[in-house]
């Protein structure tokens, strides 16, 4: 708990953020550049899918982020409801649009990959449908956050939605094992280790790291912005009180 409380102080959080941001931003740019270079130049075309496999290097990291960001929101929501951690709500609020963006990308790039490989832009199978539900959960979370006059009530409603909706995450993960689907099963996060060749695994992993770093950069800036907004709300209220 002591670690928790240390970061609960917004001023300490801001100070730490300002120190960390330049480094994380630099690492994001480097890993993106290396990842993109490897995706296009050092990784081979797939023996079945040809060059179209290169969509994997953005599709799979996007899908990972879609689930990772949602899990982060669910954890933040638990922290917010149980411990009333002051930064937890801000982290959840700041994460949702990023997660929604990545979920949209997972769906859109998957569609662009599915058309040449499966012959269809979209199929209503378990994997695709559960990810579409995830996208709507994100939108619902964002809508609830802004639905109430009092920010507190919006935070609480959104937190409950995030926790209840978390049930969808294992469904997404195991959908390819539980149901018949066009979508291929897991080839990286498997019990018996990755079944994908290192020449493709490396760029995929580096792109995965790059996307995660990008999330951290945007998240930190958004939380910073939210902290300022909280101060602005106080100032605005003071102005209104004075006017009355």
């Amino acid at each position: 708990m002591s670690v928790f409380h240390r970061f609960a102080n917004p001023n300490r959080f801001l100070k730490l953020t300002n120190q960390v941001l330049p480094w994380v931003s630099g690492l994001t740019v480097i890993s993106l550049a290396v990842g993109l270079y490897m995706s296009f130049f050092t990784s081979p075309p797939d023996y079945q899918q040809g060059e179209s496999v290169r969509i994997m290097y953005i599709h799979v990291p996007s899908a990972w982020m879609a689930m990772f960001v949602y899990t982060s929101i669910a954890i933040a929501s638990v922290c917010s409801l149980i411990w009333r951690h002051p930064l937890a709500d801000l982290a959840a609020k700041a994460s949702a649009p990023i997660g929604a963006g990545f979920t949209f990308l997972a769906l859109a790039t998957g569609s662009l990959w599915g058309k040449p490989m499966w012959g269809a832009w979209w199929v209503w199978d378990a994997r695709l449908t559960s990810v579409l539900i995830l996208f709507f959960l994100y939108l619902g979370h964002m809508a609830l956050m802004h639905a109430f006059e009092e920010q507190e009530r919006g935070n609480k409603a959104a937190a409950v939605l995030a926790i209840v909706g978390f049930v969808n995450i294992p469904i997404i993960k195991f959908s390819v094992d539980w149901w018949n689907t066009l979508h291929q099963p897991a080839s990286v996060m498997r019990a018996d280790g990755p079944s994908i060749d290192p020449s493709m695994l490396w760029p995929l992993m580096i792109m995965g790291v790059a996307f995660k770093l990008f999330y951290i950069v945007v998240l930190l800036i958004r939380i910073k912005s939210e902290l300022i907004e909280a101060k602005l709300r106080k100032y605005r209220r003071a102005v209104v009180d004075k006017a009355h």
Binding site: G50, E51, S52, T109, K224, I228, E229
Partner: protein, 68 residues
């Protein structure tokens, strides 16, 4: 030249691959830009409030000292 067109055609999957990558770049850049714009806007508004607060504080002090 042929090398470049070969690269861009991506074994005839170019349209799908480049659309996917451009879309990804657009969404990620969009997220970053809107986030930075909001931070800048908030910072500016906060600075405005703080200058107002400082000036009212100063004038408030003068009033108090002016009173006997």
């Amino acid at each position: 030249m042929e090398q470049i067109t070969n690269f861009l055609s991506m074994g005839n999957y170019g349209a799908y691959i480049w659309t996917a990558y451009l879309l990804t770049a657009a969404v990620m850049l969009g997220l970053l830009v809107t986030t930075l714009q909001r931070l800048r806007k908030n910072k500016a508004e906060l600075a405005e409030f703080q200058t107002i607060q400082n000036s009212t504080k100063q004038s408030g002090h003068k009033e108090e000292t002016a009173r006997p």
